[in-house]
Amino acid sequence: MAKVVDRHKLTWYEELYLPAIASGLKRTFRQMFQPDITLQYPEERPQIYDDYRGAPGLVRDQDGREKCVSCQLCEYICPPKAIVIVPGEAPEGATYDYSHIEKAPREFFIDMLRCIYCGYCEEICPEQAIFMTGEYELNAGSRQELVHDKKRLYEIGGLRPDPIQKWKGKDDRLDAGGFTDLRKRGAGAEEGE
């Protein structure tokens, strides 16, 4: 049921409005002498907190491995379709357990003119490979410069230690499991171990 809230009945004094206006004027006048809170931007910098949602960037783990596996879920979730990924095979001879990851982005573009800094990409990433960083100064002389490519994204993202490193050491376990590694057999390089 609708609840009817009675209006406060104004007294004749309140109805005059002038006292209210006067007190308002007093308030604003006093405010003039309060200290300024403006940040003088290029000289002074704001404090950026850890969960600040600045430009998204790609990260590497402590071994320098690129964590993104180009699953393209961020591309899928990104509301303004800012992300475009060219998926591909991980480069042969990479130092980590290649056969378990196999996939890595060949190219990774984020159009920062489209990005709305929603953070969905960070949230959906199953590999914790993309993060919203503290980077908030995005200036460029052309639109093309604001389409961040893989190189730029790794610059922005930098290193981020991964406590789990779920892919690490999986190949060793494979041999411990008693399977013949067919790749080795194919290469004719079966060594007794």
């Binding site: 604003t28 002498f33 200290p35 300024d36």
Partner: protein, 344 residues
């Protein structure tokens, strides 16, 4: 009074140039003041990059306006669209003609009034001309051929016509008491006597409120309400045309501040000085009087900004209610009271 034509032309030209430039400089620096004061009231800094304390900001703004492309949208009514900005600036500057800035000055032994045209119908001239400024805004709104602009224009004409009535009636009391319409005389009377704000408080209140409405300032800036009308009548304007609306608005503010000073705050009067003292001080008296007058104008201009950040915008029906049902009766009552008071 001299009969020397050259002298008359010379002094008048000098006055015109002096006063017009005075107003234009005020109009140029008023945005800076407004931004500064607004900033202080909001715990900000305001312009502080261009020159010391941002003092060169108006010049930067002017340069920007001048160098911007003067685009005229394809869908507008060209003639009126171009005419409209001028039609808002010119009335504001015309009113200037009858405003006394200072006590009479002695030039080459002649006494010259510090007013461009010392009309004996001074205040009527003011009302006549100020009514014209509504055309500029209405034309701008209509010529822009844009819903928002049109609404802004329509609102503005309704608002200005309504408040002109109050504006006119509110000063009737003064003339009844002073028995003259000449603005110099009204000032002279106040210099020796009491400021009208004390003898005519109701009239002053109504006049000040109406002045806010006439200049489209908050809380009565409905014609250009950014939040609802995306800047109303000047949505389609850019570069110097927009700057002219801007200048027009600030010139109008200056003029109305000057009117308030002249009509209610004793014009060039300084407390405890009489016409005789001013005369005795000679041309120094003129300088003091002028400074006093400008101080009052500045104070009122500050008040404009101050009110802007204190009172929120009215709704249109509230605006009309206030104008017709509150201010108008008040002004009438004021006339009646003054009449009774001054019964011979």
């Amino acid at each position: 009074m001299s009969d020397n034509l050259l002298f008359i032309i010379g002094t008048n030209l000098a006055k015109i140039i002096l006063f017009t430039h005075l107003v234009l400089i005020f109009a140029a620096y008023m945005p800076w003041v407004e931004r500064k004061v607004s900033a202080w009231m909001q715990d900000r800094v305001g312009p502080n990059r261009v020159g010391y304390a941002g003092l060169l900001q108006p010049i930067a703004d002017a340069l920007k306006f001048i160098f911007k492309e003067d685009a005229i949208p394809g869908h507008v009514e060209k003639v009126l669209f171009v005419l409209a900005p001028a039609m808002t600036v010119i009335p504001a500057l015309l009113i200037l003609a009858v405003i006394p800035f200072a006590p009479p000055v002695k030039v080459l032994g002649e006494s010259v009034q510090m007013v461009i045209a010392d009309l004996d119908t001074g205040i009527l001239f003011v009302f006549a001309i100020s009514s014209l400024s509504v055309y500029g805004i209405t034309f701008a709104g209509w010529a822009s051929n844009n819903k928002y602009s049109l609404l802004g224009g329509v609102r503005s004409s309704a608002q200005m016509i309504s408040y002109e009535v109050c504006l006119g009636l509110s000063v009737v009391g003064i003339f009844m008491a002073a028995q003259t319409l000449r603005l110099t005389d009204i000032v002279t009377l106040q210099v020796d006597g009491v400021w009208n704000i004390f003898t005519q408080p109701i009239g002053a209140l109504v006049f000040i409120v109406a002045a806010f409405a006439e200049t489209n300032r908050l809380p009565f800036d409905l014609p250009e309400a950014e939040t609802e009308l995306v800047a109303g009548y000047h949505t389609e304007y850019g570069s110097m045309k927009f700057a002219m609306f801007f200048a027009g608005e600030y010139a109008a503010m200056f003029v109305f501040s000057a009117l308030v000073a002249v009509l209610f705050l004793g014009g060039w009067d300084v407390p405890f000085m009489s016409n005789a003292t001013f005369a005795a001080l000679g041309n120094w008296g003129v300088v003091i009087g002028m400074l006093s007058f400008l101080t009052k104008v500045c104070a009122f201009l500050f008040f404009y900004v101050w009110v802007r950040w204190t009172i929120p915008r009215f709704r249109f029906d509230q605006l009309m209610h206030l104008g017709w049902k509150v201010l108008l009766p008040l002004a009438l009552v004021n006339v009646v009271i003054t009449g009774l008071w001054n019964l011979p």
